[in-house]
Amino acid sequence: MKILLQTAVVTLGLSLIVAAPAQAQGSAGQQGTPGNALNPGNSERGVPSDPEGTGIVVGSRSPTGLLTVAPTLEKAASTTASGLRYRAKIEFGASGLSGDEHAAKFREYKDLPSGAYPNNFAVSIEKPKSAFHFDGVGGGVTKNDQYYGFDVGKYNTWRVRGSFSEVPHFFTSTYDSLWSGVGTSTLTLSRLVPGGTTNANTTQAAMQSVIASTSQGDVDLTRQKSRTRVDLTLPSNWKAYASYTRERRDGSRPFGAVFGGGGGGGNLEIPESIDYNTQDVLAGVQFAGTQTNLTVQTTASFFHNDIDTLTFENPLFITTNTIAGVPSTTFTRGQFDLYPNNRAYNVRGEIVQKLPHFLKSRVTGVFAGGQMRQNDALIPPALEPLTGGTINGVSTTGVWNTTNALSQTTADRQIGTRLADVGIVMNPSRDFTVRGKVRYYGTNNESSDYVACNPLTGQWGRLLNNGSGGSFVTPNTAAGNNPPGTLNTGYNGTACNLAATRALGLAPNVGDVPIRSAPYEYSQTNSVVSTDFRLARSSSLEAAFERENFSRPYREREKTWENKVRFAYVNRGFDSGTLRVSYEYGHRRGGDFVAAPLADFYSGSLGPAPVANGTNMTTFVRNVDQLRRFDVADRNQNIFNVRFNHGIGSMLDASVGVQVRDLDYPASEYGSNQQQRLTTPSFELDWQMSATSNAYGFYSLQTGHLQQAGVQTTGTCTIGNSGVVASNFSSLCATASATSPLFPISRTWDVSQKDHNGAGGLGFRYELGRVMTEVAYTYTKGRTGVTYEYDPTALGINATQAALAGNGFSDLLFEQHICEATAVVPIAPRLSLRLLYWYERGKIHDWHYDGIDVNPMPANNGAYLDVGAQSYKTHWFGALFRFDL
């Protein structure tokens, strides 16, 4: 029997070695140990502690002062006649699940089993003579959260590691799907007429009937990721390594689709099909000498989307926009160009040179360069030929359902990345350290200049949403803006040549039509100087200054700079504790703020601004001038951190931490404004009652607050009205003021979001004789209140609407309780029974989904098919036998 078992273990080990590369056809990049909800980190669970403890020192603590965890009793390895040492275990049994086990939130990232079930296994083989070792682990076998891993090699010589991990991701379990073919490139309506029937109301009634009789189902995807890595120890302190990772994502997720020109044309929730494959390759060499460390590494990553284009049948009776002469029932289908295939490359070199004779210094340099690129084939703007239609008087027949309608047929996008980081650490004396560092990171957009213009018609702008809408610019034909006789087709004869079109000197009719894609890029330089002073034997003070410079072409503020000062204090001198305190102040400012940084990329740049009285200039104005986008706005920032832990007696740890982040945007009237604060105090107790029992408790309370303001537009910015003239329209209309024709401050609204979160846990482990019990309970409650202030009269909100609006929404709420209880009963020296109980209760409320279940079509051309997350309560029981070989 024993020989049989030995053979089984060795065979299983060898089969894993063979199987792992095959499984590697599934994935990429997980750095940590694989695991799942029942086996987090693949750590041993339900294993009795060693009553003898750690050894001579009782209540041993880490250098920071936290108690060392009590060691467990590992089963001794068996040895074959040939000297092979091995150890193996498998945990299997039966389990049952009851309650709301189909709720998406419960299943979000896990797959608790029901029925007979192998929970986990581990195999360890070692050949001492040759220093060969093999370890194999696995868990969640056959489930959607299964994982496997192996580690084989010869100590200090070579090592091959592999892992496979599957992650489920449930977005919703209450989705009313109207289509067949979910998960493929084509969604076909099952019970509805594409394009709708008769009118929007008739179509709505038909859709409501079908939705009401449709069973709710899941929308989810699965991520399978595997990785193989080889490490070789080479002579003379060199090492080489290489890895290959592959990831597959398969499934679907809720997605929005719109028709017409945008809001109001018709919107629909569809299931986006997902079929992604990613392959990553990495290779590098390292040198670790006494004075010099060096790493040279290269990576390549390839993403492939097997559903590059998603076509779906449209059940709505939509409202078209811009296009004339094409009935709305023509638009029976919609099409998305989903994420394109892409690839990325990176080469990096890192070097550390120690200079022991120069202030005991250490110089570090990191240099890297990379590129992200994609050149996917573009798709035609329209699916249908649009026969008989016109846009601004130009026929649409057969000139938009071809890639000849595009200025280029492939995307031709690429962005380069560059990193240079040089630092030095000097230790002039034992009690004094000085550090300096300069880091540059930048992206360089090398994409081609894509212009939105149809070479077949010469029209500038875009056909929207598969032809059901449009966004085009023509010369302004109002008298006084262009030479008499200028036609609205005046731009169409330049063969989509931007310079030639601009050279015509014709004022456009609108200013906000995108005519080019913007090549966003940025660079960031951080310069840091810091010093450490040793105040006493176990305490030190750090002072640091950092300057950060950002450059962002095409953003509202091209240059920003931030000065940061930081002080940190560490005191390790407490008998059984450590205090760490830090404070950082950041002061960000920048250059001139430009409300319309992309003017060159919009139709307003095609010619001079219109000047004639009566011309509506609203589209030539962009954001309200006083809005400051938070990532480039002036900002004052205070960050304060305290962490303190101390032993109470020899076997109890107490820890407390407080983190405060305080942001202020002093120059922002609109957008994120005022003070934002996030405060998180945390407490923890860890009591090791004996070598075999412990208890713990922790709680974190987080409160947050952020404030923002906006101003709702009204009317138009028309030359000749409200004091608007050609020379002042930009400043007068774009500035919010009491008399602004576009942004009157009476229409200002303020929104405040307040978070209040608590997360805590309690648990204990107790061994009563041979029976070990363990209970772990975690609790979280998150609440976000959204409140607002506004003037209903100025905003034209009627009494009924104002009464419903009140001063805010009902709170967003999430509450979860998870309790895991375990009892382990030894049956024989190598056999034990683990009884598990997992209780989970979740309560969720999100006002975004209020009423969708009873009113999925609140407008006659809009349908919401995801009812939203559901509250749930589940119980899971398991009886698992653990067998150790």
Binding site: G53, N156, N465, F630, A805, A859
Partner: protein, 316 residues
């Protein structure tokens, strides 16, 4: 706020002398005259320690295939030559210890580990956040037992080890939307290198976006039509660890989008309110697709960038 800072600084001022009294003044440098005595001698007293150490990767490596003579000394490879300790077990200067009580300076402890582990992933340890916070390798690693499945961690897995200090993040991971860390499918080191990196947040890539692209490769693009804050930094809109909102967003939509968008035309400057939900529509509130479900992304669904020729507003 400033009062609080004052209070804390006052506490530090008081605490500093206390620590000086508590910590014995001693030199943790190993006495030069100490000599190696071999692990058999160590085990005579430390049999229980050896029982748990024997199953560790260090023990296997040192005993079965040491890379150099130092590793072959097993216990003394890390603790230094033990002759003085064997003579006087209470002399804390006679041996390098990795516990609070023993009091060996952290720099000495870490230097001992870096004897073998310098370079590679530890290349940026010097000057890293954790180094500057005076963290010892032994704060996160316990080389004397297999408390974790691998990496000789101080706690049973990576996430628990990091949560010894990073409790805010532990709370974040319990929020409504979070990365699948409590479910055991990722760990902190999927995004961070705790041993140091060239980034401020110890990221294991050169920028936040490069970290995110590790798993979200589809969003790498670049796209035909790009969204500036997306291209620059994912955390402009997303909380990396967890959030009270859907999709780890930093704020509720549509207000998140309206932090940046207040244009002269269109609907993005509009004040949206309660009563515009699907429920409110039944009561006369006037529905808005900017409030219901995924709000702005009901229409602007390709918010991470679009490759469709009509995708400038991220609708296709």
């Amino acid at each position: 706020m400033y009062q609080f800072v004052y209070w804390v600084l006052s506490f530090i001022a008081v605490a500093a002398p206390v620590q000086n009294q508590a910590a014995p003044v001693q030199s943790a440098q190993v006495t030069p005259a100490a000599t190696y005595i071999g692990e058999a001698r160590c085990i005579q007293c430390h049999g229980q320690e050896n029982k748990h150490f024997s199953g560790t990767l260090h023990a296997m490596t040192f005993r079965l295939h040491p890379a150099n003579p130092l590793q072959s000394r097993s216990c003394e490879a890390c603790h230094g030559p033990g002759s003085n300790h064997a003579r006087n077990a209470t002399d804390k200067t006679a041996l390098i210890g990795f516990t609070k009580k023993w009091g060996t300076p952290v720099a000495t402890q870490n230097g001992q580990c870096l004897t073998c582990h310098d370079g590679g992933a530890r290349m940026h340890w010097a000057g890293s956040n954790h180094d500057r916070s005076n963290l010892s390798c032994a704060d996160c690693h316990n080389t004397m037992q297999n408390a974790s499945a691998n990496s000789l961690l101080a706690r049973k897995n990576i996430s628990d080890t990091c949560a010894q200090c990073h409790r805010e993040q532990r709370a974040d991971f319990r929020k409504r939307s979070h990365m699948p860390l409590p479910e055991g499918k990722i760990s902190c080191v999927d995004c961070h290198n705790p041993h140091g990196s060239s980034t401020r947040s110890l990221l294991n890539a050169d920028s936040v976006n490069d970290v995110c692209y590790t798993c979200h490769t589809e969003k790498r693009g670049p796209m035909l039509w790009e969204h500036a804050p997306v291209r620059e930094n994912c955390v402009n809109c997303h909380q990396p660890h967890g959030s009270n909102h859907d999709k780890l967003l930093v704020a509720a939509r549509p207000y998140l989008c309206q932090q940046c968008h207040n244009l002269s035309v269109g609907h993005n400057s509009t004040f949206y309110r309660d009563g515009q939900t699907a429920e409110g529509a039944l009561l006369g509130g006037g529905q808005s697709p900017r409030i219901i479900g995924r709000t702005c992304q009901n229409c602007h669904s390709q918010i991470h960038g679009s490759n469709h020729p009509a995708g400038a507003r991220f609708q296709r």
